[in-house]
């Protein structure tokens, strides 16, 4: 059952008066509206409780928890560390590969396992493919939010070959359980490299086409420019990360600034919002554009990684039963598709983790919504929520 709207404690509905031309006074009042959890553009089961004055949003309070599945508690109940990986898949279901990589990396660093170089390269390829797939969903649904339906289907067409690649590798299209502690579940299938190269060749022109269709569309630019601006200091104070932070003009990417795996061996650039076309740094358009440009960089990474893929084993020698030292604890952060994805793991010396805490980027990024939504139009609120690119599976976990 839905609870009746609850306002923040420091908020009172403001009554107002309008004088008409005939001299009468009309009483006006702000209105509380529930946006979601079954609303087409809250990207899942997010519920926004908004106070609107006509079309203008005065207050916006996100209510979360509709998709809570006790990931962290589940992780403690597993009989070994490996079994947690399928649960990490289900957090950010649009970007499962990066989730499991983050967890696997954390456990490996805890156990001080060195994985073979081939594994690192394959992981990079997979994570970047996943990043493209995830960004495609983000920009596609953003098209829907702004009222254009066609870009959404275009992105899903382009996402298809990526999912095909994943399917031929590990049999799954959404939740992979592919990256394991100390390695991978399977080696790459024989035709993978060829197909991945083909995809890279096919996808570059599609990106340009997509930019022409949506990103540089006059109406779209007018709609998203200077909307939902997050100033740099606010972004940093709210611990925002990922494309959202880079859209604000902050040059920060964990793949470069806290290097892991083989990213430092590859040639690519961190994409930062530039604020061209009359837009301002930190607005919706720049966040959207950072995603578009990141996809191109991901293609660069994939192409280099495919070219430099070494031969070798895909499983490191790890103990059969993973038992980290007693009271060992670690926090490892990786750059997921949506930002800093961190795992904090505490071991009590047994075969299952004592505590696993996931720092989900979508959850942290969502926290800035009330701050930037104040005073915008109702239509802009939809765009702002879309540009934050939340996946409720990760917000609620």
């Amino acid at each position: 059952m839905l609870q009746p709207p609850t306002l923040p404690t420091n908020y009172t509905i403001k009554p107002g008066h309008i004088k008409t031309s005939t001299g009468k006074t009309i009483r006006t009042e702000e209105m509380i509206v529930n946006m979601g959890p079954q609303h087409p553009s809250t990207h899942g089961v997010l519920r926004l409780e908004i106070v609107i004055d006509g079309e203008i949003v005065r207050e916006c309070i996100p209510h979360i928890g509709y998709l809570h599945r006790c990931f962290e508690k589940h992780a403690e109940q597993m009989t070994n560390y490996q079994q947690v990986i399928p649960y990490t898949d289900r957090m950010d279901y649009c970007s499962a590969m990066t989730n499991e990589w983050g967890y696997a990396l954390a456990v490996e660093r805890m156990l001080k396992i060195e994985v073979p170089e081939r594994v690192e390269y394959i992981r990079v390829i997979m994570a970047e493919l996943q990043r493209i797939a995830s960004h495609l969903i983000a920009v596609g649904t953003y098209g829907i939010d702004s009222g254009a339906f066609t870009p959404f289907l275009y992105t899903f067409i382009d996402r298809e070959p990526i999912l095909d690649l994943f399917e031929m590798t590990c049999g799954a299209r959404l939740l992979y359980n592919y990256i394991w502690i100390g390695g991978l579940s399977h080696d790459l299938p024989p035709k993978f490299i060829e197909q991945a190269k083909e995809f890279c060749k096919y996808f570059r022109p599609r990106l340009k086409q997509f930019n022409d269709l949506l990103s540089y569309n006059e109406i779209f630019v007018k709609r998203t420019a200077n909307v939902g601006v997050i100033p740099k200091d606010v972004a940093i104070n709210y611990a925002i990360s990922g494309p959202q932070l880079r859209g604000c003009g902050v040059d920060w990417d964990l793949r470069r600034d806290d290097p892991y795996s083989v990213y430092h061996k590859l040639d690519w650039q961190v994409q930062v919002g530039k604020g061209e076309l009359g837009t301002s740094l930190g607005d919706c358009w720049n966040r959207h554009m950072v995603r578009m440009r990141e996809m191109e960089q991901s293609l660069n990474i994939i192409e280099q990684a495919l070219a430099g893929l070494p031969e070798g084993n895909v499983k490191a020698a790890i103990p059969k039963r993973i038992r980290p030292d007693k009271d060992a604890e670690i926090y490892v952060r990786t750059e997921g598709s949506r930002g800093e994805l961190g795992y904090y793991i505490i071991s009590d010396g047994t075969a299952s983790p004592f505590r696993v805490k996931a720092r989900g980027p979508a959850f942290v990024n969502l926290s800035v919504l009330p701050e930037i939504a104040r005073g915008c139009m109702l239509a802009d609120l939809v765009l702002i929520a879309g540009s934050i690119d939340i996946v409720l599976g990760e917000v609620d976990r």
Binding site: P40, S146, G147, V382
Partner: protein, 353 residues
């Protein structure tokens, strides 16, 4: 009673003025229903191909029967009236909107011999009946007892009222050039081939036409944009903006009443482009002068021209994003209206000279 007197009775019944009026006035309704099926199919197929997919394929050959299946489904659905809705207005609203949009068919010249009511204030009547749609939408939005519906209804009212201004100004310009508000007269003014269409200056002397040409083209484009806004289609589909207001003013409707709104949307789509065709693109007159012209060809040309315009609209709809409320108002009051006022003065000046 023998067969002869029965036939006489039938004949008497059919030639009764009221019965005849009912039959003649429902002729466009049959046309509308068939046309809506056609346009729905076109829209879905076209949208599908624009989006790199094939759209309906299962129901009949290439899914041609899908719309009939959808219609049957809608008719069989439960008709839900929300508990706290204003029941009377809630039930009335779809019919008011449909009546408003259907009334326009009275003055549309389908052919040189077929027009529902050949009244002298044809275009004026169109604008007036279009306003009835706003009332229906407001009723629907208000009575649904849903905040999103109300927002949609209010948005729609604001939008349609502001966009009536550019539309009416365009009509005034046409009335000035042709000297008539009667659509039949306006179409007759453009008879005789593509060069006589009002978008190219109408059948005026060549010198005047050349001066008028830029202004009539501007008027035509602005009329298209503003009529797009009047029927609430992308990029001006704010009243039913799916991503913002769920379904706008008809969120709470289901079954037959929902179908009525849907029907209204597509009748409106035909109406505005039929008016655009009659006003600017020669209506029922053949683009090749006397070749393929005549009363029956008239219907053909009228429907085909309108259909082409509708297809263009569908193309626009599936390409562009949606504008925001303030931008919508900006476009109407600060761009379209001043331009049309300028055109109005310029056209008046040229006509006087």
């Amino acid at each position: 009673m023998d067969i002869h007197s029965l036939l006489q009775a039938v004949q008497g019944f059919l030639t009764n003025e009221i019965v005849l009026a009912v039959i003649l006035s429902s002729l466009p309704l049959i046309f509308v229903l068939i046309y809506v099926l056609f346009v729905l199919y076109t829209e879905m197929k076209l949208a599908g191909h624009i989006q790199d997919r094939v759209a309906y394929m299962r129901t009949g050959w290439h899914g041609v029967l899908q719309n009939i299946a959808d219609m049957v489904k809608l008719l069989l659905k439960e008709d839900i009236v929300p508990d706290k809705a204003d029941k009377l207005f809630f039930r009335l609203a779809p019919y008011v909107t449909f009546a408003g949009s259907y009334a326009a068919y009275a003055v549309l010249p389908f052919s040189s011999i077929y027009i529902g009511a050949n009244i002298n204030l044809g275009l004026f009547f169109l604008v007036a009946s279009g306003s009835l749609v706003v009332i229906g939408i407001l009723m629907a939005g208000w009575s649904s007892d849903n905040k999103w519906s109300m927002l949609g209804g209010v948005r729609s009212a604001a939008q349609m009222i502001s966009y009536e201004l550019p539309t009416s100004l365009a009509i005034v310009i046409i009335a000035m050039i042709t000297g008539s508000l009667n659509l039949q007269e306006i179409v007759k003014f453009q008879d005789g081939g593509i060069q006589n269409w009002l978008v190219f200056g109408g059948s005026l002397p060549l010198q005047q036409k050349l001066f008028l040409l830029p202004f009539t083209i501007i008027t035509f484009v602005i009329f298209l944009v503003s009529s797009n806004a009047e029927i609430n289609r992308t990029p001006f589909d704010l009243p039913e903006a799916e991503s913002e207001l769920v379904q706008g003013y008809f969120t709470e409707y289901s079954g037959l009443r929902f179908a009525m709104f849907y029907l209204t949307e597509y009748t409106n789509l035909f109406t505005v482009f039929a008016v655009a065709v009659s006003m600017f693109l020669g209506g029922w007159s053949s683009p090749f002068g006397s070749f393929m012209s005549g009363p029956v060809w008239g219907i053909f040309w009228f429907v085909v021209k309108t259909y082409v315009m509708v297809v263009v609209q569908i193309w626009v709809r599936w390409t562009l994003p949606r504008v925001r409320v303030d931008q919508l108002m900006y476009v109407s009051w600060k761009v379209l209206t001043p331009w049309l006022l300028f055109c109005l003065f310029a056209v008046g000046f040229i006509l006087v000279i």
